[in-house]
Symmetry: D3
Subunit: 144 residues, 6 copies
Amino acid sequence: MESRYERGVARLSEIDRARVEGILASLQDIAPDFARYLVEFAFGDIYARPGLDLKSRQIATVAALTALAALPQLRVHIHGALEVGCSREEIVEVIMQMAVYAGFPAALNALAAAKEVFAERPRRATVSSALSAGSPARDSVSPS
Amino acid sequence: MESRYERGVARLSEIDRARVEGILASLQDIAPDFARYLVEFAFGDIYARPGLDLKSRQIATVAALTALAALPQLRVHIHGALEVGCSREEIVEVIMQMAVYAGFPAALNALAAAKEVFAERPRRATVSSALSAGSPARDSVSPS
Amino acid sequence: MESRYERGVARLSEIDRARVEGILASLQDIAPDFARYLVEFAFGDIYARPGLDLKSRQIATVAALTALAALPQLRVHIHGALEVGCSREEIVEVIMQMAVYAGFPAALNALAAAKEVFAERPRRATVSSALSAGSPARDSVSPS
Amino acid sequence: MESRYERGVARLSEIDRARVEGILASLQDIAPDFARYLVEFAFGDIYARPGLDLKSRQIATVAALTALAALPQLRVHIHGALEVGCSREEIVEVIMQMAVYAGFPAALNALAAAKEVFAERPRRATVSSALSAGSPARDSVSPS
Amino acid sequence: MESRYERGVARLSEIDRARVEGILASLQDIAPDFARYLVEFAFGDIYARPGLDLKSRQIATVAALTALAALPQLRVHIHGALEVGCSREEIVEVIMQMAVYAGFPAALNALAAAKEVFAERPRRATVSSALSAGSPARDSVSPS
Amino acid sequence: MESRYERGVARLSEIDRARVEGILASLQDIAPDFARYLVEFAFGDIYARPGLDLKSRQIATVAALTALAALPQLRVHIHGALEVGCSREEIVEVIMQMAVYAGFPAALNALAAAKEVFAERPRRATVSSALSAGSPARDSVSPS
């Protein structure tokens, strides 16, 4: 039977394993058990539940982290949202909508974080150039 | 050309017009312009944008209002989320996930609000009873 | 020489002594020293400073309590703002402006609190009726 | 081997099992797994750790719930703090200290919650009356 | 008839057009509509209303941004408050007062932001030196 | 008779005088009275009260500053907690516990702050090396 930790790692692999593993590694010398709880509870218990698709989960998380002004974690989950199929445009829409609920400063600071994340990632200019390069597209581009 | 106000009212009709109109009415004797801004900016500008579907918008809003502990508005938007096609199970998943980002008290208080909202609404017991009654189902029920 | 406590009480007399004294009385059997700190620090140290007029201080406080969703204290300070010369219209403007910085839910909940406070207070219908009654007007009415 | 759930229930028995069980019961028809996570993660993982005594854990929790204005949960944990050996006076000190970090409104609202909790509980008037009654004292009374 | 955008730009010109235009420019490649909403709603709808003078509006905003710990926006609005006639002393008084409502950390972090803003701006040392230099004073200096 | 300021300075000497004096010095050119209020109210009034030991006060403060995401002040009080006898392990336990009440992002950002603080301080590797060096141990090490 799969353990909670294994299930959490499996779920993380679909989202943003590399970045979360960086966070887990940074906890090893100060709070190693906390790294384990994060994998087990957040990803093994909650994200692994079947009742909500991963894309909707990332939309909820980007909304909440914008409202809470938790910018380091927001950056990680903007990456994660892109990995599970959100387009850049959808992420920007979620953040803009937060101006209604949490105010313009929360949305402005989150847009600045999104801009940094988008700049760090490769983006397919056109479908043909991606095909010719033989590399898979990273972020999905909505037709707008 | 449709005005921002008209576009906002149209968008509201898809979400939860009756409840939001109650809020707008209560503002008439203290801040009537604020009622107008709410329709124009929140619904006519933001919710009317094409880049994100209404169901995803309600998921983002339920997540943010849970994290911000804005319970009166959360109740309105749980109704709204059900109207645009979220199942009760999906709403509960979004709120539970907020324990990871905003803590257990925020999630517990939001679950209590959801319980109140669910109790106020008719719910189809089975598909057959709804069909035999000839009435449309109100909340969608996910198979779980 | 006037003590901090005496200075605080004097400042409170200009703002909303009756209501704050109710708060202080309710603290006597659980935290009597805390009642004293509130008078001495908040009113004797801060509000008694000469660098900002009382009306501006109440505007700042109404803004902050709206943003923080501290509704019991907001009600007290809406009364206080009216006592030191803010009009109802100015208070509503401050709260509406908070939608920009803290979101619409914070502003909506604060407007509901303002509505309750306004309903509790006498309001001069016209200047002549107030004059004929020989009583001073309570809340100033801005010409709008 | 003791499961996380069993360990959580055991820890809860030392704190405030009756009240937390009321919370768990209220979750059964809306989010039964969330009740389980609360027992397993909060009490089975975190509170069961050996590195900090239960009294210190309750002081930390009362402080945080005061700062976060999470009043329903604060009431539960004021009960819990009294059960694990905090005196009423110590709880009042923790809440008063929060005025420095989270402002006077947060502390005032938490003191009102503490007053309600204290009123619900039996309190030994004097040592001799408790002894003559042959019943154990409930809340410890610091000599002040 | 003046559009909401034109009215917002006109209002911004009285406050701190240069700095806000920097913010708007930074939004062009990620969320250009959001820049427009900020001008239209925040400045064209709210700040352009006649019921509250601009100086009082900036006092309310400095108070709220201090309480919300929104430091990048606080810096912009401390500049804005100085432009519309607040003295440095009045801004410091508003921030200090927030220790009562939002705690000392919020006030300390906002004072650090104010210190940075004040250091970026020219300040008239004495009335005579400003007159002899033939240049208008930038920030008003209260006699203290 | 000892003044509030003297009492506050005395209390600070037990906690983290050097770091707090740095903060007070930085306030001298912008808000010197605020530095005085911090010493008088926070340390002379609150921390000097007899009803709660200093170690418990620091645990409450570390918990609250984690929940409020007030990282500059959290760093100061992690130093302070170590000075009054908390072990590194106890501080880490308090912060980890905050994941339950304020969410994982608040706890993760506080753990990062704790890691920085711990790295700045000397730590006794073993009892014998400290004894042979003839220097007193700085932070207490719990046996774990």
